[in-house]
Symmetry: C2
Amino acid sequence: MQRSTRQQDAIIHALQKAARPMSPPEILADAARDVPAINLTTVYRTIKRLLEAERISPVALPGEAPRYELQSVAAHHHHHFRCDRCSTVYDVEGCPAGIGGLVPRGFRLRSHDLVLYGTCKECSRN
Amino acid sequence: MQRSTRQQDAIIHALQKAARPMSPPEILADAARDVPAINLTTVYRTIKRLLEAERISPVALPGEAPRYELQSVAAHHHHHFRCDRCSTVYDVEGCPAGIGGLVPRGFRLRSHDLVLYGTCKECSRN
DNA sequence: CTAGTTGCAAAGCATTTGCCTGTGG
DNA sequence: CCACAGGCAAATGCTTTGCAACTAG
């Protein structure tokens, strides 16, 4: 991450606009509106560089390809909602209570991931 | 799932012995002790058939390849605790309260996945 | 200039499919 | 018997890598 290029800017911009975790193909589609010639390979390589520079974080959902979000978003503890219909992943604020109570005796809890599934606002309308 | 074959029996037996979610390569390694000639393709195809017959269930953890466990284990709603040190995945009973309260207005909740991370009893000792 | 970046094509990997042989019932 | 199951090789889909051309600083 040493130079600033149009492709990199377009990728970062896509993540800023979306404000939700995006997959490489999603990033490509959005960035292509700024830089039509951009390539999927470039998206993957740029993601890798941004991860090393800790400017983005991976968002892994069970059974799905990794998505990515800006470090500024990832820094705040939050969870995710995945729409069954459109597969879009939304950020969700807050935590349920009583997670500590689930931990078996003798185990030590460090962190947790919660993923909600259902239909999003858009898809619920149709 | 119409016939009983040595390969299928070996695969089911491997899952019974392990009593924890296994990946296809893990299943292959174990089943190969009963049926040395068994092939990875057969493992994948048998998994597919067992899934359709609802005799096993997929266990997907964020960022990890899918694993499978017997339906008898998967039947009741539970979550998972993954040890940071030994990577073992434990079943956890119960659910935290107030999950519904996290859902944004207009969204409809269908289900959820919770994964706890930390150190298990064994690893906490050392 | 010149080293970091990009684009294209090819390589890797895990998983799936095609096709033909083997076998359970 | 013969349709389902298995084995091998090839195909697939997503991600990474090799390499020559491009470009930011």
